[in-house]
Amino acid sequence: MNVSTEHPIASIEEVKSQRSKRIGYFFYRVRKSPLTLLGASIILFMLCVMLFAPWLATHDPNAIDLMKRLQPPSAAHWFGTDEVGRDIYSRVVFGSQQSISVGFFVVGVAGVVGTLVGCFSGSVGGRIDGLIMRLTDTILSVPSLVLTMALAAALGASLFNAMLAITLVRIPYYVRLARGQALGIREMGYVKAARTFGASRWHIVRWHIVRNALPPVVVQATLDIGGTILVAAALGFIGLGAQQPTAEWGTMVATGRNYILDHWWYSLFPGLAILITSTSFNLFGDGIRDILDPKQRGK
């Protein structure tokens, strides 16, 4: 998994040229893999939707009209209207802001916190490491969806609390991943060398361990974004996500569920949005993993 193992001690120039080669190779591989490219383009598209939502939407996503409830898709309302007469297309467009930012927030915070804790734990070792790992393993053994649900319920229903709950439950995964990397790197020649040259422990953690633990964490994080969007949608589905009138895809599918037999469009479009977004992040993450995985690259 670790990218830099082949050259334990390298000059700065070597590292630089290696890195640029690596980046070049990376893009070469992405281009070679149509699915990764597909994932990346959908992500790009979704990011545009998210940024330009106010211009892409045809209606005010929160404007209600109780007399125009649950209308089928038409020229005026491309995806139909919901149970209080809001335009579903505009709500799906604005919903991208919630779902995608949840994905980035959770993965970003859990990834950073988890990596730091994991690297720290792995490099100090001893009793502290044991304690942290015991705690991590315990949290990991609680059914994660149930823990997330209970935590979100405890914090109170809001999108932020849902994000917080998912983040807290995700952190231990990164702790374990980063610690594994740190343990491996700690024994590497160049870290040992740095230590003998008198580099401080913090310097080592910061420069060598964290940096080298990063690639697998990044891969895991990319893969996690899709999963996080799904979990957030599931929380929204059981009423623990964004609050009205904010448009959020999971909540929309959940509400639409009450109307699904006669008003299929209500759940269909936000559900498709979840599916497509989550798929694109997973395709991209999958592709990146294959590219960075030295086991397969070497062969």
Binding site: P143, A150, A154, L230, A234, F237
Partner: protein
């Protein structure tokens, strides 16, 4: 490490896990605002009545005392009494657990039966259109909101086509009298109740498909990557050189070896399926633990939520252990798993 050592180590670890899980779930479930006594008493009840119920349930005690009395009971195998159903939690879970396990196993079977061949094809045709296509399917599976897919298949297969039942576990009056395994598919066959078996099979088809589809990608991905490794090995080259046919090499030699590392992943998927069933069960009115725990969370039924978490973590550790033992068994090269 010998098998016995492994078992001893894991069982010791189990104690720690149960302790940790109980602390975490106890804390989190008590953080949820709301008063279970009030829920039982009913909205119109006076404070006096609510207080009285609190006393009856021991909810008036300080939290740490509540926790320790819970723990004491737990050590003697008592998971407490459900606030919502007023029945022992263990009895409730025992009634629901087999349904969940049956669903999870059938879903896993479906995911493996479809996912393994897909994974093999994907590896053999690496980077060809077929590989991309298979990967697209498996990634789509992982990315599908199960509750949404469930609604869809009910709508199509029950609502529009009328081919399969839309909910429940078995047809009216067909439930097996025998309770040998708790699995309707097995119990009906054991008592020779063939129409009951067909009915159970029809009822499990849609939920198992929904749940299995989501995990199909996990299986296919795992098989693909271990197949890729195997196909690089020397013995495959030797076999090729000796003129054996391509597919016979793949299925007779590469696949069995590729399956060994996959056992862990697929086995662990069973653990995921157990609690992944939570939302699927709700959609399909499947009488399992998932629907029970969702209702319990909403009713602030702490003992039930904790009981669920403990039982599932327990099952998870046991499944892990079994997987590792199987692993040792089929791959004697590996003496220890850690």
């Amino acid at each position: 490490m010998s098998a016995l050592q492994l078992i001893r180590k894991r069982l010791l670890g189990l104690l720690v896990v149960v302790l940790g899980v109980s602390v975490i779930t106890f804390t989190v479930s008590h953080l949820i605002p709301g008063d279970p006594a009030r829920l039982i008493a009913g909205e119109k009840a006076t404070e006096e009545i609510v207080q009285n119920i609190r006393v009856q349930l021991g909810l008036d005690q300080p939290l740490h005392i509540q926790y320790f009395s819970y723990l004491k009971n737990l050590l003697s195998g008592d998971l407490g009494t459900s606030i919502r159903t007023t029945q022992p939690v263990l009895d409730d879970l025992a009634a629901f657990f087999p349904a969940t396990l049956e669903l999870a196993i059938v879903a896993l079977l479906f995911a493996s039966v479809v996912g393994i061949p897909l994974g093999v094809l994907s590896a053999v045709y690496k980077d060809k259109p077929l590989d991309h296509f298979v990967r697209l399917i498996s990634v789509t599976g992982i990315s599908t909101p199960a509750f949404w897919l469930g609604l869809g298949v009910i709508l199509v297969f029950y609502g529009k086509l009328g081919m399969l039942p839309g909910g429940g576990r078995i047809g009216e009056g067909l439930a097996p009298q025998l309770n040998a395994t708790g699995f309707y598919l097995i119990d009906t066959l054991l008592e020779g109740n063939f129409s009951g078996f067909i009915s159970a099979l029809k009822h499990i088809a849609l939920p198992a498909f929904t749940l299995g589809f989501v995990h199909l990608g996990v299986v296919a991905r795992q098989i693909r990557s271990s197949m890729l490794e195997q196909l690089q090995e020397d013995y495959i080259r030797t076999a090729k050189a000796s003129g054996a046919s391509k597919w016979s090499i793949i299925f007779k030699q590469a696949l069995p070896n590729a399956l060994i590392p996959s056992v862990t992943v697929i086995g662990l998927a069973l653990g995921d399926l157990l609690y992944g069933a939570v939302l699927t069960e709700t959609v399909f009115a499947w009488p399992g633990m998932g629907a029970y725990v969702v209702n319990s969370i909403q009713a602030l039924d702490f003992p039930a939520v904790m009981g669920f978490a403990i039982v599932v973590s327990f099952a998870y550790v046991i499944v892990n252990l079994i997987v590792d033992l199987v692993y040792m068994l089929i791959d004697p090269r590996i003496s220890g798993v850690n």
